[in-house]
Protein backbone atom coordinates (compact mmCIF):
# COMPACT_ATOMS: atom_id res chain seq x y z
CA UNK A 1 0.00 0.00 0.00
CA UNK A 2 2.92 2.34 0.68
CA UNK A 3 3.82 2.37 -3.00
CA UNK A 4 0.31 3.47 -3.88
CA UNK A 5 0.36 6.34 -1.39
CA UNK A 6 3.90 7.26 -2.37
CA UNK A 7 2.63 7.68 -5.91
CA UNK A 8 -0.10 9.96 -4.61
CA UNK A 9 2.36 12.30 -2.93
CA UNK A 10 2.88 14.64 -5.92
CA UNK A 11 -0.83 15.01 -6.50
CA UNK A 12 -1.46 15.42 -2.76
CA UNK A 13 1.12 18.18 -2.51
CA UNK A 14 -0.22 19.87 -5.62
CA UNK A 15 -3.80 19.52 -4.35
CA UNK A 16 -4.92 17.27 -7.17
CA UNK A 17 -6.41 14.39 -5.19
CA UNK A 18 -10.17 14.20 -4.92
CA UNK A 19 -11.96 14.38 -1.56
CA UNK A 20 -12.09 10.64 -0.96
CA UNK A 21 -8.45 10.20 -1.92
CA UNK A 22 -7.45 13.00 0.43
CA UNK A 23 -9.26 11.34 3.32
CA UNK A 24 -7.68 7.98 2.46
CA UNK A 25 -4.24 9.53 2.09
CA UNK A 26 -4.46 11.47 5.34
CA UNK A 27 -5.64 8.39 7.21
CA UNK A 28 -2.67 6.49 5.83
CA UNK A 29 -0.45 9.41 6.77
CA UNK A 30 -1.56 9.20 10.41
CA UNK A 31 -0.66 5.53 10.59
CA UNK A 32 2.49 5.36 8.53
CA UNK A 33 5.61 7.18 9.61
CA UNK A 34 7.47 6.20 6.42
CA UNK A 35 4.77 7.90 4.37
CA UNK A 36 5.03 10.96 6.63
CA UNK A 37 8.78 11.09 6.04
CA UNK A 38 8.39 10.63 2.29
CA UNK A 39 5.79 13.39 2.14
CA UNK A 40 7.88 15.78 4.16
CA UNK A 41 10.98 14.98 2.10
CA UNK A 42 9.10 15.79 -1.08
CA UNK A 43 7.64 18.97 0.40
CA UNK A 44 11.04 20.20 1.57
CA UNK A 45 12.56 19.47 -1.82
CA UNK A 46 9.80 21.42 -3.56
CA UNK A 47 10.13 24.23 -1.04
CA UNK A 48 13.85 24.52 -1.69
CA UNK A 49 13.23 24.38 -5.42
CA UNK A 50 10.71 27.22 -5.05
CA UNK A 51 13.25 29.29 -3.12
CA UNK A 52 15.90 28.50 -5.71
CA UNK A 53 13.61 29.94 -8.38
CA UNK A 54 12.32 32.83 -6.31
CA UNK A 55 12.07 36.38 -7.60
CA UNK A 56 13.28 39.32 -5.56
CA UNK A 57 10.62 41.62 -4.17
CA UNK A 58 13.02 44.33 -3.07
CA UNK A 59 12.14 46.82 -5.74
CA UNK A 60 8.42 46.32 -5.43
CA UNK A 61 7.93 48.39 -2.27
CA UNK A 62 5.03 46.22 -1.42
CA UNK A 63 5.61 45.40 2.20
CA UNK A 64 4.26 48.63 3.68
CA UNK A 65 1.43 48.77 1.19
CA UNK A 66 0.33 45.26 2.16
CA UNK A 67 0.71 45.91 5.86
CA UNK A 68 -1.26 49.15 5.66
CA UNK A 69 -3.99 47.26 3.90
CA UNK A 70 -3.95 44.39 6.39
CA UNK A 71 -4.00 46.59 9.45
CA UNK A 72 -7.02 48.48 8.18
CA UNK A 73 -8.89 45.52 6.73
CA UNK A 74 -11.70 43.79 8.62
CA UNK A 75 -11.18 40.10 9.32
CA UNK A 76 -12.74 37.64 6.93
CA UNK A 77 -14.59 34.44 7.67
CA UNK A 78 -11.97 31.71 7.84
CA UNK A 79 -14.33 28.88 7.07
CA UNK A 80 -15.72 30.37 3.93
CA UNK A 81 -12.65 30.03 1.81
CA UNK A 82 -12.41 26.62 0.22
CA UNK A 83 -9.35 27.63 -1.80
CA UNK A 84 -7.30 27.76 1.32
CA UNK A 85 -8.40 24.52 2.83
CA UNK A 86 -5.80 21.89 2.06
CA UNK A 87 -8.42 19.19 2.53
CA UNK A 88 -10.15 20.54 -0.52
CA UNK A 89 -8.80 19.65 -3.85
CA UNK A 90 -7.21 22.83 -5.15
CA UNK A 91 -7.82 21.66 -8.68
CA UNK A 92 -11.52 21.54 -7.91
CA UNK A 93 -11.18 24.97 -6.45
CA UNK A 94 -9.74 26.26 -9.69
CA UNK A 95 -12.43 24.53 -11.67
CA UNK A 96 -15.02 25.88 -9.23
CA UNK A 97 -13.89 29.45 -9.79
CA UNK A 98 -13.62 28.78 -13.47
CA UNK A 99 -17.12 27.27 -13.50
CA UNK A 100 -18.64 30.03 -11.42
CA UNK A 101 -17.37 32.61 -13.88
CA UNK A 102 -18.72 30.50 -16.71
CA UNK A 103 -22.03 30.06 -14.93
CA UNK A 104 -22.21 33.84 -14.70
CA UNK A 105 -21.51 34.18 -18.41
CA UNK A 106 -23.95 31.37 -19.20
CA UNK A 107 -26.64 33.05 -17.09
CA UNK A 108 -26.10 36.33 -18.94
CA UNK A 109 -26.27 34.55 -22.29
CA UNK A 110 -29.44 32.75 -21.22
CA UNK A 111 -30.99 36.02 -20.09
CA UNK A 112 -30.13 37.62 -23.42
CA UNK A 113 -31.50 34.62 -25.32
CA UNK A 114 -34.61 34.71 -23.18
CA UNK A 115 -35.18 38.41 -24.00
CA UNK A 116 -34.55 37.82 -27.70
CA UNK A 117 -36.79 34.75 -27.56
CA UNK A 118 -39.57 36.77 -25.98
CA UNK A 119 -39.23 39.49 -28.61
CA UNK A 120 -39.32 36.82 -31.32
CA UNK A 121 -42.32 35.08 -29.76
CA UNK A 122 -44.13 38.38 -29.32
CA UNK A 123 -43.58 39.21 -32.99
CA UNK A 124 -44.50 35.70 -34.00
CA UNK A 125 -47.67 35.83 -31.88
CA UNK A 126 -48.57 39.15 -33.43
CA UNK A 127 -48.03 37.69 -36.88
CA UNK A 128 -49.97 34.54 -36.03
CA UNK A 129 -52.78 36.56 -34.53
CA UNK A 130 -53.05 38.69 -37.63
CA UNK A 131 -52.87 35.56 -39.77
CA UNK A 132 -55.44 33.85 -37.60
CA UNK A 133 -57.85 36.78 -37.87
CA UNK A 134 -57.35 36.80 -41.59
CA UNK A 135 -58.03 33.05 -41.89
CA UNK A 136 -61.02 33.35 -39.58
CA UNK A 137 -62.39 35.94 -41.92
CA UNK A 138 -61.68 33.66 -44.87
CA UNK A 139 -63.26 30.75 -43.06
CA UNK A 140 -66.37 32.71 -42.28
CA UNK A 141 -66.65 33.92 -45.84
CA UNK A 142 -66.09 30.40 -47.14
CA UNK A 143 -68.71 28.93 -44.88
CA UNK A 144 -71.16 31.57 -45.92
CA UNK A 145 -70.31 31.14 -49.57
CA UNK A 146 -70.42 27.36 -49.54
CA UNK A 147 -73.57 27.16 -47.54
CA UNK A 148 -75.17 29.04 -50.39
CA UNK A 149 -73.51 26.79 -52.95
CA UNK A 150 -74.44 23.76 -50.91
CA UNK A 151 -78.06 24.73 -50.84
CA UNK A 152 -77.83 25.00 -54.59
CA UNK A 153 -76.60 21.38 -54.62
CA UNK A 154 -73.07 22.16 -55.88
CA UNK A 155 -71.22 20.57 -52.92
CA UNK A 156 -71.04 17.00 -51.85
CA UNK A 157 -72.14 16.00 -48.36
CA UNK A 158 -68.48 15.39 -47.44
CA UNK A 159 -67.49 18.86 -48.52
CA UNK A 160 -70.32 20.41 -46.59
CA UNK A 161 -69.44 18.40 -43.47
CA UNK A 162 -65.85 19.49 -43.74
CA UNK A 163 -66.72 23.11 -44.10
CA UNK A 164 -69.04 22.88 -41.14
CA UNK A 165 -66.41 21.22 -38.99
CA UNK A 166 -65.42 23.77 -36.30
CA UNK A 167 -61.95 22.19 -36.10
CA UNK A 168 -61.10 22.73 -39.69
CA UNK A 169 -58.28 25.04 -40.57
CA UNK A 170 -58.21 27.39 -43.46
CA UNK A 171 -54.86 28.30 -44.92
CA UNK A 172 -54.31 30.90 -47.53
CA UNK A 173 -51.30 30.24 -49.70
CA UNK A 174 -49.96 32.98 -51.91
CA UNK A 175 -47.01 33.55 -54.18
CA UNK A 176 -43.84 34.99 -52.74
CA UNK A 177 -43.20 36.82 -56.01
CA UNK A 178 -44.94 40.12 -56.04
CA UNK A 179 -45.66 39.92 -59.75
CA UNK A 180 -47.54 36.63 -59.48
CA UNK A 181 -51.14 36.31 -58.41
CA UNK A 182 -50.90 32.63 -57.63
CA UNK A 183 -53.02 31.68 -54.64
CA UNK A 184 -54.79 28.77 -53.12
CA UNK A 185 -57.04 28.06 -50.18
CA UNK A 186 -56.62 24.91 -48.20
CA UNK A 187 -59.27 23.66 -45.84
CA UNK A 188 -57.62 21.10 -43.64
CA UNK A 189 -59.14 18.71 -41.19
CA UNK A 190 -56.28 17.38 -39.11
CA UNK A 191 -58.45 15.70 -36.51
CA UNK A 192 -59.03 12.37 -38.25
CA UNK A 193 -57.57 11.40 -41.56
CA UNK A 194 -55.67 14.23 -43.05
CA UNK A 195 -58.40 15.65 -45.20
CA UNK A 196 -57.39 18.53 -47.36
CA UNK A 197 -59.80 20.44 -49.48
CA UNK A 198 -58.20 22.49 -52.23
CA UNK A 199 -60.25 25.52 -53.02
CA UNK A 200 -60.15 28.37 -55.44
CA UNK A 201 -56.82 27.39 -56.93
CA UNK A 202 -55.18 30.08 -58.98
CA UNK A 203 -52.02 28.29 -60.05
CA UNK A 204 -50.06 28.18 -63.29
CA UNK A 205 -51.36 25.57 -65.70
CA UNK A 206 -49.36 22.43 -65.24
CA UNK A 207 -47.91 20.74 -68.30
CA UNK A 208 -48.91 17.20 -69.10
CA UNK A 209 -47.18 14.64 -66.86
CA UNK A 210 -46.81 17.10 -63.99
CA UNK A 211 -48.65 17.48 -60.73
CA UNK A 212 -49.05 19.95 -57.93
CA UNK A 213 -47.37 18.74 -54.79
CA UNK A 214 -48.36 19.90 -51.34
CA UNK A 215 -45.66 20.27 -48.69
CA UNK A 216 -45.88 20.80 -44.97
CA UNK A 217 -43.01 22.83 -43.53
CA UNK A 218 -42.00 22.22 -39.94
CA UNK A 219 -40.83 25.00 -37.56
CA UNK A 220 -37.28 23.79 -38.17
CA UNK A 221 -37.66 24.01 -41.94
CA UNK A 222 -38.11 20.30 -42.55
CA UNK A 223 -40.34 19.68 -45.55
CA UNK A 224 -42.67 16.72 -45.73
CA UNK A 225 -44.62 15.80 -48.82
CA UNK A 226 -48.32 15.55 -48.01
CA UNK A 227 -49.28 14.32 -51.45
CA UNK A 228 -50.07 15.48 -54.92
CA UNK A 229 -53.27 16.99 -56.11
CA UNK A 230 -55.10 17.86 -59.22
CA UNK A 231 -56.73 21.23 -59.01
CA UNK A 232 -59.91 19.86 -60.44
CA UNK A 233 -60.54 17.61 -57.49
CA UNK A 234 -61.57 19.20 -54.23
CA UNK A 235 -60.87 16.88 -51.31
CA UNK A 236 -57.76 14.77 -50.86
CA UNK A 237 -56.78 12.41 -48.13
CA UNK A 238 -53.14 13.19 -47.47
CA UNK A 239 -50.36 11.97 -45.23
CA UNK A 240 -50.52 12.67 -41.55
CA UNK A 241 -47.85 14.98 -40.27
CA UNK A 242 -45.28 14.19 -37.59
CA UNK A 243 -45.25 17.83 -36.50
CA UNK A 244 -47.38 20.92 -36.24
CA UNK A 245 -46.67 22.68 -39.53
CA UNK A 246 -45.34 26.17 -39.58
CA UNK A 247 -46.70 26.63 -43.10
CA UNK A 248 -47.68 24.84 -46.26
CA UNK A 249 -46.34 25.18 -49.77
CA UNK A 250 -47.14 23.96 -53.24
CA UNK A 251 -44.67 23.13 -55.99
CA UNK A 252 -45.14 21.82 -59.46
CA UNK A 253 -43.33 18.52 -59.92
CA UNK A 254 -42.82 16.12 -62.77
CA UNK A 255 -44.76 12.86 -62.57
CA UNK A 256 -48.04 11.89 -61.00
CA UNK A 257 -46.59 11.02 -57.60
CA UNK A 258 -44.33 13.97 -56.98
CA UNK A 259 -40.82 14.03 -55.57
CA UNK A 260 -39.37 13.22 -52.16
CA UNK A 261 -38.10 16.80 -51.87
CA UNK A 262 -39.14 19.92 -53.78
CA UNK A 263 -37.26 20.30 -57.06
CA UNK A 264 -38.77 23.64 -57.96
CA UNK A 265 -39.68 26.88 -56.24
CA UNK A 266 -42.87 27.16 -54.28
CA UNK A 267 -45.71 28.45 -56.40
CA UNK A 268 -47.54 29.44 -53.26
CA UNK A 269 -46.92 29.12 -49.57
CA UNK A 270 -48.51 30.23 -46.34
CA UNK A 271 -50.50 29.16 -43.30
Amino acid sequence: MLKKYDEWIPDYIAGHLDESQIVEFENALQENSVLQTNLETAEIAIEKYAFATSVSTEGLNLKDVIWNGLSSEPELDYESDSVLNLTNNSRESIIGNFMSSYIGIAASVLLLLSILGNIYLANEAKYQESNFLSTLEEKSLLQEKYSKVSSAGELSAQEVAMLKNPDMKVCKLTSENQGDNNSLLLVIDMTQDMQVMVMSPDLPTKPSGHSYQLWAISPTGEMVCMGTFDAEKKIYTMKKLPFQPKEFGVTMEEGAFGKPQPTSKFLVRGI
Partner: protein, 170 residues
Protein backbone atom coordinates in the same frame (compact mmCIF):
# COMPACT_ATOMS: atom_id res chain seq x y z
CA UNK B 1 2.71 30.74 13.34
CA UNK B 2 1.43 32.02 16.68
CA UNK B 3 2.39 35.57 15.68
CA UNK B 4 0.43 35.22 12.49
CA UNK B 5 -2.58 33.81 14.28
CA UNK B 6 -2.45 36.68 16.76
CA UNK B 7 -2.31 39.10 13.86
CA UNK B 8 0.90 40.69 15.12
CA UNK B 9 2.97 42.86 12.83
CA UNK B 10 6.05 40.83 13.67
CA UNK B 11 4.27 37.83 12.19
CA UNK B 12 3.67 39.69 8.97
CA UNK B 13 7.25 40.96 8.90
CA UNK B 14 8.55 37.44 9.28
CA UNK B 15 6.19 36.13 6.62
CA UNK B 16 7.10 38.81 4.12
CA UNK B 17 10.82 38.65 4.80
CA UNK B 18 11.01 34.89 4.47
CA UNK B 19 8.43 33.99 1.85
CA UNK B 20 7.67 36.94 -0.42
CA UNK B 21 10.41 36.12 -2.92
CA UNK B 22 9.47 32.46 -3.22
CA UNK B 23 5.79 33.30 -3.55
CA UNK B 24 6.57 36.02 -6.08
CA UNK B 25 8.53 33.43 -8.04
CA UNK B 26 5.47 31.20 -8.14
CA UNK B 27 3.24 34.05 -9.29
CA UNK B 28 5.79 35.15 -11.89
CA UNK B 29 5.70 31.77 -13.56
CA UNK B 30 2.04 32.29 -14.33
CA UNK B 31 1.63 36.07 -14.58
CA UNK B 32 4.30 37.66 -16.68
CA UNK B 33 3.14 41.26 -16.33
CA UNK B 34 4.88 42.71 -13.28
CA UNK B 35 2.10 45.04 -12.13
CA UNK B 36 -0.43 42.20 -12.25
CA UNK B 37 1.99 39.88 -10.49
CA UNK B 38 2.43 42.51 -7.76
CA UNK B 39 -1.33 42.77 -7.33
CA UNK B 40 -1.62 39.02 -7.00
CA UNK B 41 1.22 38.87 -4.49
CA UNK B 42 -0.53 41.51 -2.44
CA UNK B 43 -3.77 39.53 -2.55
CA UNK B 44 -1.90 36.39 -1.55
CA UNK B 45 -0.58 38.00 1.62
CA UNK B 46 -4.03 39.29 2.49
CA UNK B 47 -5.44 35.82 2.00
CA UNK B 48 -2.75 34.13 4.05
CA UNK B 49 -3.26 36.69 6.79
CA UNK B 50 -7.00 36.34 6.88
CA UNK B 51 -7.12 32.58 6.53
CA UNK B 52 -4.21 31.40 8.59
CA UNK B 53 -6.59 29.50 10.87
CA UNK B 54 -7.50 27.11 8.07
CA UNK B 55 -3.92 25.87 7.76
CA UNK B 56 -3.33 22.58 9.55
CA UNK B 57 0.27 21.38 10.13
CA UNK B 58 -1.01 17.80 10.24
CA UNK B 59 -1.81 17.96 6.56
CA UNK B 60 1.42 19.35 5.25
CA UNK B 61 4.03 22.04 5.49
CA UNK B 62 3.13 25.69 5.71
CA UNK B 63 4.99 26.50 2.53
CA UNK B 64 3.09 23.81 0.59
CA UNK B 65 -0.16 25.41 1.72
CA UNK B 66 1.05 28.84 0.59
CA UNK B 67 2.40 27.44 -2.67
CA UNK B 68 -0.98 25.96 -3.62
CA UNK B 69 -2.79 29.09 -2.55
CA UNK B 70 -0.43 31.30 -4.57
CA UNK B 71 -0.55 29.15 -7.69
CA UNK B 72 -4.34 28.96 -7.57
CA UNK B 73 -4.73 32.69 -7.07
CA UNK B 74 -2.35 33.44 -9.93
CA UNK B 75 -4.27 31.06 -12.21
CA UNK B 76 -7.54 32.66 -11.11
CA UNK B 77 -6.16 36.10 -11.92
CA UNK B 78 -4.95 34.87 -15.26
CA UNK B 79 -8.45 33.74 -16.08
CA UNK B 80 -10.28 36.67 -14.58
CA UNK B 81 -8.12 39.16 -16.41
CA UNK B 82 -8.98 37.47 -19.70
CA UNK B 83 -5.41 36.53 -20.28
CA UNK B 84 -4.94 34.04 -23.06
CA UNK B 85 -3.39 31.64 -20.58
CA UNK B 86 -0.35 31.76 -22.77
CA UNK B 87 2.11 30.79 -20.08
CA UNK B 88 0.60 27.32 -19.80
CA UNK B 89 1.12 27.00 -23.51
CA UNK B 90 4.75 27.97 -23.38
CA UNK B 91 7.17 25.12 -23.55
CA UNK B 92 8.52 24.25 -20.18
CA UNK B 93 11.99 25.29 -21.28
CA UNK B 94 10.64 28.74 -22.10
CA UNK B 95 8.92 28.90 -18.72
CA UNK B 96 12.06 27.95 -16.85
CA UNK B 97 14.13 30.39 -18.90
CA UNK B 98 11.58 33.11 -18.18
CA UNK B 99 11.68 32.44 -14.47
CA UNK B 100 15.45 32.42 -14.40
CA UNK B 101 15.69 35.51 -16.59
CA UNK B 102 13.31 37.44 -14.41
CA UNK B 103 15.24 36.35 -11.37
CA UNK B 104 18.45 37.61 -12.89
CA UNK B 105 16.85 40.98 -13.44
CA UNK B 106 16.30 41.45 -9.74
CA UNK B 107 18.81 41.84 -6.98
CA UNK B 108 19.45 38.35 -5.76
CA UNK B 109 19.69 37.18 -2.23
CA UNK B 110 23.14 35.68 -1.90
CA UNK B 111 21.71 32.60 -0.20
CA UNK B 112 19.61 31.91 -3.26
CA UNK B 113 22.52 31.78 -5.66
CA UNK B 114 23.69 28.42 -4.37
CA UNK B 115 20.20 26.95 -4.56
CA UNK B 116 19.77 28.24 -8.06
CA UNK B 117 23.00 26.61 -9.16
CA UNK B 118 21.81 23.35 -7.69
CA UNK B 119 18.54 23.53 -9.58
CA UNK B 120 20.55 24.34 -12.69
CA UNK B 121 22.28 21.00 -12.42
CA UNK B 122 19.01 19.10 -12.25
CA UNK B 123 18.16 17.03 -15.31
CA UNK B 124 15.97 18.97 -17.72
CA UNK B 125 13.28 16.29 -17.73
CA UNK B 126 13.11 16.41 -13.93
CA UNK B 127 12.84 20.19 -13.87
CA UNK B 128 10.14 19.95 -16.49
CA UNK B 129 8.11 17.54 -14.39
CA UNK B 130 8.54 19.55 -11.18
CA UNK B 131 7.49 22.75 -12.90
CA UNK B 132 4.41 21.15 -14.41
CA UNK B 133 3.33 19.19 -11.34
CA UNK B 134 3.95 21.70 -8.58
CA UNK B 135 4.03 25.13 -10.14
CA UNK B 136 1.80 25.01 -13.20
CA UNK B 137 -1.15 23.07 -11.82
CA UNK B 138 -0.96 19.93 -13.98
CA UNK B 139 -2.00 16.54 -12.65
CA UNK B 140 0.21 13.53 -13.32
CA UNK B 141 -2.33 12.30 -15.87
CA UNK B 142 -2.27 15.67 -17.65
CA UNK B 143 1.52 15.67 -17.63
CA UNK B 144 1.48 12.22 -19.16
CA UNK B 145 -0.79 13.46 -21.95
CA UNK B 146 1.10 16.71 -22.45
CA UNK B 147 4.53 15.15 -22.63
CA UNK B 148 3.21 12.01 -24.37
CA UNK B 149 4.89 9.67 -21.96
CA UNK B 150 3.25 6.83 -20.02
CA UNK B 151 1.67 7.71 -16.67
CA UNK B 152 3.94 5.16 -14.99
CA UNK B 153 6.97 6.97 -16.37
CA UNK B 154 5.66 10.30 -15.04
CA UNK B 155 5.25 8.80 -11.57
CA UNK B 156 8.66 7.17 -11.61
CA UNK B 157 10.37 10.31 -12.90
CA UNK B 158 8.65 12.53 -10.36
CA UNK B 159 9.83 10.29 -7.55
CA UNK B 160 13.33 10.27 -9.02
CA UNK B 161 13.23 14.04 -9.44
CA UNK B 162 12.35 14.56 -5.78
CA UNK B 163 15.01 12.08 -4.75
CA UNK B 164 17.64 13.85 -6.85
CA UNK B 165 16.55 17.24 -5.57
CA UNK B 166 16.79 16.03 -2.01
CA UNK B 167 20.28 14.60 -2.58
CA UNK B 168 21.46 17.78 -4.27
CA UNK B 169 20.04 20.08 -1.61
CA UNK B 170 21.48 17.92 1.18
Amino acid sequence: MALLKNKEKRGFDYLYANYSTALFGIVNRIISHEDDAKDVLQDIFVKIWNNIESYSPKKGRFFTWMLNLSRNMAIDRLRSANYKYHNRNLSIDETIVNVFDRNQAHTENVNMIGLREIVGTLKVEYRELIELAYFSGFTQVEISEKLEIPLGTVKTRLRSAIKELRIKFD
